[in-house]
Amino acid sequence: MNKFARKNFKIFFKSKGEPMLWLTGGGLVISLLMITLLLLLVLKNGMGNYWPGGIVYFKLKNGEAIMGEITKTEYYKLPDDKINTLNDEDKKRVLKNNGKEKRFLVRVGNFELSNKHFEWVSLHEISKQDYPAEAIVLERLEWGRFYGFPKEFIVDGRPVASDLKGILKNYDRYHNDVRKLWRKKVSIEKGEIGKLNHKIEKERLKLKEAKLELEKAYLSKNNEKINEAERRYKKISLEFEEFNKLTKNEYDKLINEINKLKANYEKYGIKFLTADGKEKEVKLYEIVRGYTANTLSFGNKMGIYLNRWIEFLTDEPREANSEGGVFPAIFGTVVMTVLMSLFVVPFGVVAAIYMKEYAKSGKIISILRIAINNLAGVPSIVYGVFGLGFFAYTLGASIDQLFYAAKLPNPTFGTGGILWSSLTLALLTLPVVIVSTEEAINAVPNSLREGSYACGATKWQTVRHIVLPRAMPGIMTGFILAMSRGAGEVAPLMLVGAVKLAPEMPVDSIYPFVHLERSFMHLGFHIYDLGFQSQNSDAAIPMVYTTTLLLIGIVVLLNVVAIYIRNRLRKKFIGSVF
């Protein structure tokens, strides 16, 4: 026997440590595997959601017919008494499958006709299955999807085509223009009328302010003051009436324009026949997208797929967020994250500099450090409660009292908004920034500090010119961590300003352009809303994945940019080690 051969397991275990290698390596592999699986799940479901599927037509044995897209296929246990009622062929198949039967979840759409978005169909219920070439799927502004056979293309109530080819030709010819008209109408409603409403609101506030002044003057019982206030109030009232007349005119003009547009685009429509034999006319402007799903080439499908992604990224949500795009949520998330970084980074860095460079290291600083580290472990919802209670209800309410008294009892800053949200998240991520800045400052070699002092520099000059630049990459790391955490946080935002549907964006073209008091949409909250608050959950779940994918993508993108900057800083300020 070789004299170096292993003697017994115990010694082998202690001396070689190979089992430890397996243990630690295994731990790593399991963690990686879980993360990879999670990403794959999100990727598969998120990416696949928008791929256009075919339309299936089921003729059922009870005489009914349903049509739609199959979204899920699964096996389920059929009760024994049910199996006995099946015909021989089905019975044999089910028994062969250990009593399990196959069933399909079909997205049948046509909600306004059938009150259903989805329907389960078991294999034994089907008498005939078909993929009709003339079946069309529509994505609509309202009521979700529509599945049907086109019958007539209608202009001004008269049919102009009644064969598939003719209808499609007319669709191609008019659809884009009609949609353009419709979009113009929406932009007038949102843009010009919105602006007008803002103006009216502003004037009304002026009037109200004058009235408040007048009331105050009456209370003071000072005749001079009362006279002054009365004169002012009268003047503003007159101005307001004048203004009202003017805006009424403007308003009427806009309404007129809208009506004209409406008349122009509402006359086009397509009459459809559904699988269960009902007739339904769909207006052309309501159709976001329509296609004959069963005759698409790969190129057509790719086009629809990309088109849907573009819509998702750039459009506003429809149908309780389960359709359309998430642009307001993307925008809100990014604006909120940027604001949060603007608050948290300077504060965190300054605090860390004080603790590391100025304060004498001792018990108090140690306790402070422990406290800060523990702050990172406080459940984030607590921050939300604090943000709501302190920022919105205390600070915001005071601001309202002082500057927005005329709007009360409607709160301006006294409720959740993007400012309070970003401040709350800044508080939440402060420990991360402080801790990583401290670490970065720790890593600055003392020889550099001494070199600077030896040149006659003061403490602040040393911090400013030597320590901070050198610690910058580490500070960036903290910033990255804070950003990732902040962008993915949902719970506190539910309390301090994220909403399901924000009527206005936090940044827009109305003066003063940045509206910090507004509530906003946030991707994280959007995911929560889709997944748990949605009426049409079967349609919403795929959107959850797609939105999650997008959120991950945005966080990764922000990270990549920050890491790029950090690496450049590192090259500049730390260089190679000699």
Partner: protein, 274 residues
């Protein structure tokens, strides 16, 4: 060895001085200087006069307090709040440890070169003019001139003149150390303090730095800590031998190396020490 220490501690024996020092013009006068790190005393009753315009070397086994003494001169030890000093150090007859002393003003008069090259995280140009910039010198013409003069003096100008705006970390170790020397002489100090400036460098870079030290002698007073006997012998005019916080022998380098008066100095120089 222990005998000597006992004697020094009990104040029976004094540092042995070489009489030649008497003829020199004194710039730094260290008087009965004690230094404590917390409770631990690191320097004992140092009395030492450093001549102007000469190179003075501090030698001795590691941990004997050479760096501590050097850093006492420009008060870098003050950065540690647990350091306490007794006695005084005079620069040009003025107390360095006086309450009214402005540390920035003081350190402007003393450039320092550290053991490991410590270029700042900025460009070569900014490194050299850093001491001037923090003192409020803004005029570009002055900065440019100082930069060129200092770099030329440090023998680095020809090597870096085309990449002054580049990061200082791109230089080799020897170049970085010469850059640090250029930075130290930029504000035209009176004294340059060097703490083992060659210990992190290869022989060729070391040779260049030694040449540079010899040329610095014309304009500046140099105090250099070294653990390399040959280096001390090559570059210094005066040598001080320290041991365990005491100044044992101090005098003309030639005398110290040729015929040391104290046996321990001889043992240390010849490598029989310990």
């Amino acid at each position: 060895m222990t005998e000597l220490l006992e004697e020094l501690k009990n104040n029976e024996k004094k540092t042995v001085y070489d009489p030649l020092l008497k003829d020199e013009n004194i710039i730094i006068d260290i008087k009965d200087f004690n230094l404590y790190y917390g409770n631990k005393q690191a320097l004992f009753k140092i009395n030492m006069q450093i001549p102007k315009g000469k190179v003075t070397a501090l030698i001795g086994p590691s941990g004997c307090g050479k760096s501590t003494l050097l850093r006492s001169i420009n008060r870098l030890n003050d950065l540690l709040d647990y350091v306490r000093v007794e006695g005084d150090i005079l620069l040009d007859g003025e107390s360095v440890y006086d309450r009214s002393v402005d540390l920035s003003e003081l350190r402007k008069k003393m450039g320092m070169v550290a053991q490991k090259p410590n270029p700042f995280p900025m460009s070569i140009y900014d490194n050299v003019v850093y001491p001037l910039k923090i003192n409020g010198v803004k005029k570009k013409s002055i900065l440019d001139e100082v930069c060129e003069r200092s770099l030329s003096y440090a023998g680095l100008w020809d090597e870096v003149k085309d990449r002054l705006k580049e990061n200082a970390f791109g230089l080799s170790g020897g170049q970085q150390q010469r850059l640090c020397i250029a930075r130290a002489i930029a504000p035209e100090p009176e004294v340059i303090l060097m703490d083992e400036p060659c210990s992190a460098l290869d022989p060729i870079a070391t040779y260049k730095i030694e040449e540079l030290i010899l040329s610095l002698r014309e304009k500046f007073t140099v105090v250099i800590v070294t653990h390399n006997m040959q280096q001390a012998a090559r570059v210094s005019d005066f040598t001080a031998f320290m041991y365990m916080g005491f100044l044992v022998e101090y005098g003309n380098t030639i005398n110290i190396f040729k015929k040391p008066k104290v046996k321990d100095t001889e043992d240390y120089i010849t490598g029989r020490f310990g």
